[in-house]
Each structure stands twice: as structure tokens, then as C-alpha cells.
């Protein structure tokens, strides 16, 4: 049998453009997640509030007696607020292992030995989470707006509430950005995806519990900045032009979100490295 030459051979394939390698990670990640049946079940569950709201819009549009169910601007804010629960579970389901599993399998070094920068690696991982989180927040909310137009048979509601499109986009983006950046940063800090999941749950619920306890003790809601969930809720109300729920200045709420995202970016910059110095 002939023995083939296993020596150096020039690469004959096509070269991807610089800065596009992250798409490979994203595509592979999305495909892996979509192959899990339990995740499909979670996504179906996450879309169930959309179905309920769509029925509500249908009934309100077709039956005069049910006109009190007609959607308002608040309806979309409430809808996105409800989706927060699914954002939490989808974030844990997908995000916990995104970097932690690579660290566990020592795959980070393999990734970064390819023509792929650290920023591209992080962007690729972030895009996976972004994709699925957008599909449980922005996508159903915009679909709901379309459903309203379809069932009402007029653009009247949209014309009166044209700010809803940027409001839905901005608030969804805030929800998704905070959840995905925080989770990715936590995922880079451990090799166990379970530990990452608990850390994320701890961060979300512990800060909320601390805020509620402080609120109960002091009777003031100005400590809402302690809890990312409540800070987002406050920002959501500003974005949708509703009365604020807490006594928290919007600048402080924005600062909290910026600090959280910047802190996560800093952690990622420190933790995602090809070479790990072991002491």
C-alpha cells in the first residue's frame, strides 16, 4: 500500500476575511443548541405568552364587549417584563457553559491558536446568547405589534404609538445586553457550567432580595440600583414613557447598567487568554 506524504502542504482552501471568524463559532453554537430537544421545549414555553397576548389582541379587535382588552403601550412593556423570566432561564441554559466548557476542555488554547482574535472569540460566544435572547424578547414583541396591525386591519395604533418600535428595540437590547454580558463574564470565571449557573442565579436573586430587604427596612426604593433586574425595570418604564416604579434617578439606573456591562467586559478581557499562568 502506498504511504502518502504527511509532510507540509500548502493550504489550498479559501481564506475567510479578517474579522469574520466569530461567525463560525456563532453558527456552530446555534446549531448545537438547536439540536437539543429540551431547549426547543423551553423556547416553546417562552413563546407561550406571545400566543396568549395574540389571542387577547384578536378578541379585543373582534368583539366589542372585550374592547377593554385592547393593547396599549403598557401592554408591550408588561409583555417584555414577563419575558424576563424566560431571559433568565435561556441565559442559564445556553450561557452557563459557553466559555466554562471550553475552559474545562482546555479548548480555549485551541481556539486562540487559530486565526481568531480574543475579541472575535468573545463576539462569537456572545452572539449565540444574543441570538436566542433576542428571539424571546425583541422578536415576539415586534411580532405582537404586527399581529395587532393585522387583526385591527389598520395602522392607527402604530401611528399613535410610533415610539413603540424604538422603545421595544431599546429595552430588549438592554435586557439582552445585561444578561448576556454578565453571564459570559461569569462563564469565563469557572470551569463548571453548573457553578456558573448558580452564580448567575445568585447574582440576580441575591441582589433583588437585598434590595427588597433594604426597601422593607428603610421604606425607600432608591436602593433599586443594587438589583440589575429592578434597575432594568425602572429603565423600561422610562423607555416606554410610563411612571417610574422606584425612586431611582434614570442617570443612576443607566450608570448601573453601564458599570455592569463594562465590568463584565473587563472580566472577559482578563479571563479569556490563550495562555494561563499556573502558580
Amino acid at each position: 500500500m502506498p504511504i502518502h506524504d504527511q509532510g507540509y502542504r500548502r493550504y489550498l482552501g479559501s481564506r475567510g476575511a479578517i474579522g469574520k471568524s466569530w461567525q463560525v463559532i456563532t453558527r456552530a453554537g446555534i446549531r448545537t443548541v438547536l439540536s437539543k430537544r429540551s431547549f426547543i421545549a423551553l423556547m416553546l414555553l417562552a413563546w407561550s405568552p406571545f400566543v396568549v397576548r395574540a389571542v387577547q389582541v384578536y378578541v379585543a379587535s373582534n368583539f366589542q364587549q372585550a374592547s377593554f382588552l385592547a393593547p396599549k403601550a403598557e401592554t408591550f412593556r408588561e409583555f417584555l417584563g414577563q419575558q424576563g423570566l424566560f431571559v433568565f432561564f435561556v441565559t442559564i441554559y445556553i450561557g452557563a457553559g459557553l466559555i466554562a466548557n471550553d475552559r474545562r476542555a482546555n479548548a480555549l488554547q485551541v481556539y486562540l491558536s487559530k486565526p481568531l482574535t480574543r475579541a472575535e472569540y468573545v463576539a462569537g460566544k456572545l452572539a449565540i446568547l444574543f441570538f436566542f435572547l433576542v428571539s424571546v424578547t425583541w422578536l415576539p414583541a415586534i411580532m405582537l405589534l404586527l399581529v395587532q396591525i393585522m387583526f385591527a386591519g389598520s395602522l392607527g395604533f402604530l401611528r399613535q404609538n410610533i415610539f413603540l418600535i424604538p422603545a421595544i428595540t431599546l429595552f430588549s437590547l438592554l435586557q439582552v445586553l445585561v444578561a448576556s454580558m454578565t453571564m459570559l463574564a461569569l462563564s469565563s470565571m469557572s470551569k463548571s457550567s453548573r457553578f456558573v449557573g448558580v452564580m448567575y442565579a445568585g447574582l440576580i436573586f441575591f441582589t433583588a432580595a437585598m434590595f427588597q430587604a433594604l426597601r422593607g427596612i428603610t421604606g425607600r426604593s432608591s436602593f433599586a440600583w443594587l438589583s440589575p433586574t429592578d434597575t432594568l425595570e425602572q429603565l423600561g418604564n422610562y423607555v416606554f414613557r410610563l411612571d417610574p416604579v422606584y425612586d431611582l434617578h434614570p442617570a443612576v439606573a443607566v450608570l448601573t447598567v453601564v458599570t455592569l456591562v463594562a465590568g463584565s467586559a473587563w472580566i472577559l478581557e482578563r479571563r479569556v487568554r490563550g495562555i494561563e499562568v499556573v502558580q
Partner: protein, 274 residues
């Protein structure tokens, strides 16, 4: 040399000895310390404000006493957050950790009953979490309560500590079963604690009886604070079962889930991912 086979409880004790050291001196303990450290820091801040006579402890002009603040901390932080989250974290990890680290093979090749491995690890979890949580509760109590109030309120502290211990035990047993049975125990555990329990407690009828929180909250000697829509709903539909009934059901949950967890470990074939 062929060693003598250990009895079930003897084997559990051996696993307990081994696991306790591992659990206490691990990164998880840092997480647990952070979790239980929050209430202590909060109590310390309240104490400092109280010492300087600042109006932080007044709601609508009314001063909240130390016991009122302690009750809020027990409800909001320990009962609703610390106990369930530690139960999920440690309970689901009892077997899942061994599967994930691929070390379960070594445990199962020892001449000990498989169920004893789980029981030993469960007891280690209970000892480890109690050793961290209960002292922090005591610390919070002594930071918030003035010395002259201690004789009148000490029994409430003991009740609180007892019910928190019971909570750790029952949640731990439940999540030990979830961890032994399911492949993705963490998500299921979080759905149970943060999804099912919160929803069921806010619904009228019998739904809430299928939660641990319903029986646990019935034992709390402090009044329930209402801090949001869910709390208000929970308060509206709240019915408090008698103490004896609550204790009985919690004991039933504990025994049943611990038995199921041990039985699952005994019979399940764990396939390690390559």
C-alpha cells in the same frame, strides 16, 4: 487483602467524613460565605445607622424595632433566597459533580452500597451548610437586637434557626433526588424554586401544598412582609397550616425524597460523557 464490607450507615459515615472536608474547603464555600455574608453586612449597616440615631429604620415616620428588621431579613433573605439557593446548589451537585468530574466510577467500585454514597454526601451537605448559615443568622440577630431585648426574643431566634435547618434538610433532600435523577438538574431546580414555588404560592386552592415553601413559611414566627405584587398575592391567598401538619409534611418530604434519591443512585446507570 479483602476488606470487610461496611454496613450502610458505616459506609455513609465514611463518605460523610470524606465529603465534609471537600465541601468545607472548596470554592463553593466562598460562594456560600458571600451569600450568607450579605445579611450580616446589611445587619451591620443597620446597627451602625441605629447607633448614630439615623432615620434609616423608619417607615412612614414609624420606627421599626430590631426584631422587625430581623424578621424582614429572615423572610426576604434567608427563607426566600439563601435556603432554596443553597439547597439547589449543593443538593443538585451531590451526584452531578461526580458524574461531571468522571469520578463516580471510583466511588462505585468501592465496597460500599451506592445509596450510602448519596446519604453520606447529603449529611455532609447538611453539616456544611448549617455550619455556615446558622452562625450567620445568630450574628445577624445579635447585631440587630439590643441586649435587653434578647431574653424576650431568644426563643424566636431558636425557632428561626430550627426552621432554617429544616429548610436546608428538606430542600437538600428534594434537590438530591433531582440531581440524581435528571441530566440537567440545575435548570430544573431553579425552575422549581424560582418558578413553580413562587407561582403556586400566589395561587388560590391546593396548588401551594405541592411546595416546600408553604409548610416552611407556616413555621415562621415573624409576620410576612409584602414587597411586591407577588408578595401581595401570596399574602392574599396565604393560609397557614398548623405547626404539627407543617412539620409532618416536611418530614414526609424529607424521608420520601431522600429515599428516592438513594434508590435512584442505587439503580441508575450513569453514562459518562466522553
Amino acid at each position: 487483602m479483602i476488606g470487610r464490607t461496611l454496613s450502610f450507615w458505616g459506609a455513609s459515615r465514611r463518605v460523610f467524613d470524606l465529603s465534609l472536608g471537600e465541601m468545607l474547603w472548596s470554592r463553593r464555600t466562598i460562594f456560600m460565605a458571600l451569600v450568607v455574608g450579605g445579611p450580616v453586612v446589611l445587619a451591620l449597616v443597620v446597627r451602625i445607622l441605629e447607633t448614630f440615631g439615623m432615620p434609616a429604620l423608619r417607615v412612614n415616620g414609624q420606627r421599626i424595632g430590631g426584631m422587625g428588621v430581623f424578621g424582614i431579613v429572615i423572610w426576604m433573605l434567608f427563607l426566600r433566597f439563601v435556603i432554596p439557593i443553597l439547597g439547589v446548589f449543593y443538593g443538585t451537585a451531590l451526584m452531578a459533580d461526580e458524574v461531571e468530574d468522571k469520578t463516580i466510577t471510583y466511588l462505585f467500585t468501592r465496597p460500599v452500597p451506592r445509596g450510602a454514597v448519596l446519604i453520606g454526601k447529603y449529611l455532609a451537605y447538611l453539616a456544611c451548610t448549617s455550619l455556615v448559615v446558622l452562625p450567620s443568622v445568630m450574628l445577624v440577630y445579635f447585631l440587630l437586637i439590643r441586649l435587653n431585648e434578647v431574653p424576650g426574643t431568644f426563643m424566636q431566634l431558636l425557632t428561626d434557626m430550627g426552621l432554617l435547618f429544616l429548610g436546608l434538610a428538606v430542600y437538600g433532600a428534594f434537590f438530591a433526588f433531582i440531581g440524581a435523577f435528571f441530566k440537567r438538574p440545575l435548570v430544573i431546580g431553579l425552575v422549581f424554586v424560582m418558578g413553580w414555588e413562587q407561582t403556586a404560592m400566589a395561587l388560590p386552592g391546593y396548588m401551594k401544598r405541592f411546595t416546600v415553601a408553604y409548610y416552611l413559611q407556616a413555621l415562621v414566627p415573624h409576620s410576612m412582609p409584602s414587597d411586591g405584587v407577588v408578595s401581595i398575592l401570596q399574602g392574599m391567598f396565604r393560609d397557614t397550616p398548623p405547626v404539627a401538619v407543617s412539620l409532618t409534611w416536611l418530614a414526609v418530604y424529607l424521608v420520601v425524597f431522600l429515599f428516592l434519591a438513594a434508590r435512584t443512585v442505587d439503580r441508575k446507570e450513569y453514562i459518562l460523557e466522553q
